[in-house]
């Protein structure tokens, strides 16, 4: 059963990941990302991390990717990208080599340890103990060991709010812009959409 779940979810994950990278259209990339997110959520459930699975879906699928799509639509930047041109000669090949290396490093590391973690066992509370639901276990850890970390995430959120507000300030007039680059053609469609949506900025 778990084997089956694993392989299906893993296939979804990998397909989604490849979709993100290979889709020409950013919307398709975003949708592929959702696929991966669900796959990962399923893998969480398969490993008894129910709470995280739910949170993963709520935060990632429900908020993050939605925001992505929102931005794509708001800006009208869903233009397909021409992937057949290597922007920098050899960059793509180099990136793939780097990718393989990045994949190989942890796998090789795991191989040396006999495909097993080497760390100390059950430091902060057991996962397999079904008497304590994972939500409670996580809660306990968050409010004891990670209490400081938990508190400082508030700073992070404050920064996100302040930063977003600052960046979303009304766009200056085009004449005011200091643009030191050649003019580019702009799509009228996208302009119309973004002009109307500008006032909705603050809510993003």
């Amino acid at each position: 059963m778990e084997t089956f779940v694993f392989f299906v979810a893993a296939a979804i994950c990998l397909a989604g990941a490849l979709g993100v990278v290979l889709s020409k259209n950013p919307v398709h990339s975003a949708l592929s990302l959702v696929g991966t997110l669900f796959g990962v959520a399923v893998l969480f459930v398969a490993q008894n991390a129910n709470f995280l699975a739910a949170v993963q879906v709520i935060i990632y699928a429900g908020a993050i990717v939605v925001l992505f799509l929102f931005v794509i639509m708001l800006l009208g930047v869903d233009r397909a990208e021409n992937l057949s041109v290597d922007p920098l000669v050899g960059q793509r090949a180099a990136a793939i080599v780097a990718g393989v290396a990045i994949f190989a490093l942890p796998v090789a590391a795991l191989a040396t340890t006999g495909w097993d973690a080497t760390g100390a066992i059950a430091n902060l509370g057991s996962v397999s103990d079904s008497a304590v639901p994972d939500v409670e276990g996580i809660g306990r850890v968050l409010f004891t060991r990670y209490i400081f970390a938990l508190e400082i995430t508030s700073i992070l959120l404050a920064i996100a709010v302040v930063g977003a507000v600052m960046l979303a300030k009304k766009s200056p007039k085009a004449a005011d812009m200091i643009v030191d680059l050649p003019a580019r053609p702009t799509s009228t469609d996208a302009d119309a959409a973004s002009a109307d949506a500008t006032s909705e900025e603050g809510t993003a």
């Binding site: 993100v20 889709s23 990339s29 969480f44 793939i96 990718g99 059950a122 992070l156 680059l181």
Partner: protein, 105 residues
């Protein structure tokens, strides 16, 4: 029965590292800042999967607790990142990472 388990936890780790590598490669290959950013999310997902798997292997709930932080950070990153992307793309809707080569010298 169907529930007979035959999955090695390390498979999850290998899967996670594959996801991570795909994300990293994608970030290096793609030029669209939005897609690059999605690749970062892929990488973060790979990390959360790794954490959960280790949490299971070590039978330690601490690994799962960490994932909560990763999620919060991811959310905050998205807000800021999309803020910047909106700020720039509103002015130049067709910006790609190559156009950002304005800053070369």
């Amino acid at each position: 029965m169907l529930l007979a388990a035959g999955v090695e936890p390390s498979w999850y780790l290998v899967l996670a590292s594959a996801l991570f590598a795909i994300g990293a490669t994608g970030l290096l290959v793609r030029r669209n800042p939005l897609v690059m950013f999605m690749c970062v999310e892929l990488m973060l997902n790979a990390v959360t999967l790794t954490f959960v798997t280790f949490s299971r292997m070590l039978d330690d709930i601490g690994g799962q607790a960490v994932v909560v932080f990763v999620l919060v950070v991811a959310a905050a990153e998205v807000v800021v990142g999309l803020g910047i992307i909106v700020a720039i793309m509103r002015r130049r809707p067709d910006a790609t990472a190559d156009d950002l080569a304005l800053l070369k010298g």
